[in-house]
């Protein structure tokens, strides 16, 4: 809800409350039989202290996962830790407080001064990022219930060709862009809405959402961790952080003996092969492409921004106000439909169509400006991904790809070098 709408509603509320307050002062009947009036029960929500407990648990799990991945090099430890995460953050906490969704809370709190983010959500957003910045994506390995449930279900992983991985890698970026745009405009929280596993964690969800979760799990039997790799918007952020991480899980504890055992161990195709010694040094075509792609980046950004901003027409329709006002303008006959609850509620709210349209236009404007940022961001990522394809770095050993590696530790397990 935009701030504007909130204030308008608040104004209406004040009036309503005054009317109601007058009614509430009305004295009760005087009972003669000594009847004692019961009072309505109000079960308390989860206490704030328990919420902070969750932050502590997250901190502990993150630290343990990091320790298992970087110090004790124990795949088994990570596995059991992820089972704990699945049980605690998944089935016990019902998948709701989650770092992935916290992106939206942060985005909304930055755009809407009236929204006060809870400390817990902020901590869940920041802690994994900071850990990734120093230790790699150990969050994905052991502290994310969504990752854990998928990881446990990897049964027959198939290797995906690089072109598919790279181009499907654009999806989470678009998803992240949309999620931030929708959250910042107060439209809705799409990440939470389409969290595929939350229904499974709760053992209770609308039917089709359960089907969605099961579909992801079935997909994950072959395409390992499909949500993490091709949808998770938080993964995009962790990927960047992890690329510049100070320390990171390594496949071997000492020198690589190039036994290649690890290559088939990674279900995520996240192990980079050593560069071929015999391969010729990059030729002139590559330098030309490097320059071309560098120059293309601003073009991607501008075109992306322009198109996303132009797309406000349909993007802004995700906002209920915009949708409702367009519906009322385009289908005025719906005013007579008693079953259209939204329109009936609007009509009885006493608000005029003018004010609704005015509110909707404010939202549209936000989408237009926000679109520039979102599209520019998506364009930038596409441009950089492209550029990365012509950047060569010499690698002597088999190394985990710092961006894509989930630090699950399978490769360590396979490595015959043990100390």
């Amino acid at each position: 809800m935009s701030k504007r709408v909130k204030i308008v509603l608040f104004g209406i509320l004040i009036i309503l409350v005054q009317v109601a307050a007058a009614q509430q002062r009305f004295p009760k009947p005087e009972f003669e039989t000594g009847y004692v009036q019961p009072s309505p029960t109000t079960p308390e929500p989860r206490g704030l202290a328990v919420e902070y407990m969750d932050v502590l648990v997250l901190l502990a799990v993150l630290s343990l996962a990091t320790w298992f991945a970087l110090r004790s090099r124990s795949r088994r430890g990570i596995l059991w830790l992820s089972v704990f995460t699945l049980i605690y953050f998944g089935f016990y906490r019902k998948g709701c407080i989650c770092s992935i969704g916290a992106i939206q809370n942060v985005a909304l709190s930055l755009s809407d001064a009236a929204y006060n983010i809870s400390i817990t959500a902020l901590a869940f957003f920041l802690l994994p990022l900071l850990y990734a910045l120093f230790f790699g994506r150990t969050f994905c390995a052991g502290a994310c219930p969504l990752g854990a449930i998928q990881d446990l279900l990897i049964i027959h992983p198939i290797s995906l060709p690089p072109w598919l991985r790279k181009s499907a890698g654009i999806i989470p970026v678009v998803y992240l862009g949309l999620a931030i745009l929708f959250a910042a405009t107060g439209t809705e929280f799409i990440i939470c809405r389409y969290d595929p596993f939350v229904g499974i964690f709760r053992l209770d969800a609308p039917y089709h959402m359960v089907v969605l979760g099961v579909a992801f799990l079935l997909l994950g039997m072959f395409v390992s961790r499909p949500y993490c790799r091709f949808f998770c918007p938080y993964g995009v952020l962790l990927n960047w952080m992890s690329r510049f991480s100070k320390w990171h899980l390594s496949i071997t504890p000492s020198d690589c003996i190039k036994c290649k055992l690890c290559t088939s161990s990674c279900p995520f195709d996240a192990i980079d092969h050593p560069t071929e010694e015999s391969a010729p040094p990059p030729g002139r075509t590559y330098y030309r492409r490097f320059i071309l792609y560098s120059l293309l980046i601003p073009v991607w950004v501008l075109v992306g921004g322009f198109i996303a901003s132009k797309s406000y027409t349909y993007l802004s329709r995700a906002h209920q106000d915009v949708y409702l006002s367009e519906l009322l303008i385009h289908h005025p006959e719906l005013v007579n439909d008693p079953d259209n609850l939204d329109i009936q509620a609007f009509l009885s709210s006493g608000k005029t169509l003018d004010t609704l349209v005015e509110d909707a236009r404010v939202v549209q404007q936000k989408f237009r400006t926000g679109g520039w940022f979102m599209g520019g961001f998506i364009g930038l990522v596409i441009g950089i991904t492209l550029l990365n394809q012509v950047v060569f770095r010499k690698r002597k050993d088999y190394q985990p790809n710092r961006g894509d590696c989930f630090s699950c530790g399978r490769c360590m397990d396979y490595c015959p070098v043990k100390n």
Binding site: Q23, P27, P29, A215, Q344
Partner: protein, 320 residues
């Protein structure tokens, strides 16, 4: 397992995922959601033979106030209490008088001499036609909520919904007596007033009629507070009253007929003095759903003035 089988399986799943996400995203839009499966069905009450309605709306006066209180009509003038003022204007909408009141007034009544009696929450005050305050009664107790006034010769009747009682005042503002309508007869509990809707009126024959909202009845009392007779028809149909606390407001016409206004299913009707429905003034479609029951007044010619709290206007209904 053959690779191609896996690929076909995977693409199928991807398609299912896409269908679910897109389908769900589109499904929660106002024009794609279903109506209320648990709707409270009032159609039977609301559907009324339109031929019963013999009045039509002719005029609206816009009120410039945040919270309207009550209206009265006398001598071709409309008296309105709203917010903390009292306003008098003629039928053309020209203001004749506007005075500031010390506190909001919920009801008012005009005497034959043109004096204006105003009911505050726990006191009654009298203003001259020129807007000068003549007297103000001693305040009643904390529970008092005065919701209606009526005049008969030298007596002022004030309906107090909070105390479930009718108070009597002299024309000079002296408190005389109250009655709660209780008798020793079994089951006669007096006034049952579950909410601040409690109206009364004096008919041309000088009979005091009080609404007993909890009983959905109109009751005729002697000036001493003895029940003389009553009219009752509990029914959701057009000829009866239903819900709690109806009729919310009444006015008595020149021929002794009752003009009634109801809450819940908001409607205005006229009953014969005998208690039979004579005609319908306005049906629920004229008012906001779940709106407040309009305060009503009627002039000598039978023209109905309804104070619509939700739309902030006085609505005039004239016989067709």
């Amino acid at each position: 397992m053959k690779k191609s089988v896996i690929y076909i399986f995977l693409s199928l799943i991807v398609i299912i995922i896409l269908i679910i996400v897109i389908g769900d995203f589109r499904s929660t839009r106002p024009d794609r959601m279903s109506g209320n499966p648990y709707k409270l069905n009032l159609d039977r009450i609301k559907s009324v033979d339109p031929n019963l309605v013999t009045y039509q709306e002719t005029k609206n006066y816009r009120i410039n106030a945040r919270q309207a209180g009550g209206i009265a009509v006398a001598g071709e003038k409309i008296y309105l209490a709203a917010d903390t003022f009292l306003q008098v204007f003629d039928y053309a909408g020209r203001q004749i008088l506007k005075i500031t009141l010390p506190e909001p007034a919920g009801c008012l009544e005009v005497s034959k001499q043109g004096d204006i009696i105003v009911g505050h929450r726990n006191a009654v005050a009298l203003y001259s036609a020129a807007g000068e305050m003549k007297w103000r009664s001693e305040p009643l107790d904390e529970r008092a909520v005065i919701t209606a006034l009526a005049l008969k010769d030298g007596t002022i009747f004030a309906a107090d919904a909070g105390n479930r009682a009718v108070h009597l005042y002299t024309a000079e503002g002296k408190y005389v007596d109250s009655f709660e309508g209780k008798t020793s007869i079994e089951g006669n509990h007096g006034f049952i007033v579950p909410s601040p809707y409690f109206d009364l009126g004096v008919n041309p024959d000088g009979e005091l009629w009080v609404v007993n909202p909890g009983k959905l009845a109109l009751e005729n009392y002697t000036d001493e507070g003895n029940l003389r007779s009553y009219l009752e028809n509990i029914s959701p149909e057009i000829d009866g009253f239903s819900g709690c606390c109806n009729p919310a407001h009444i006015a008595i016409m020149a021929d002794g007929s009752f003009l009634t206004s109801e809450k819940g299913v908001v409607r205005i009707k006229i009953y014969e003095p005998s208690g039979e429905l004579s005609t319908v003034v306005a049906l629920p479609d004229k008012f906001m759903e779940d709106g407040e029951a309009p305060d009503v007044a009627v002039d000598e010619e039978g023209i109905v003035y309804a104070l619509d709290y939700d739309r902030n206007m006085i609505r005039i209904f004239e016989p067709k």
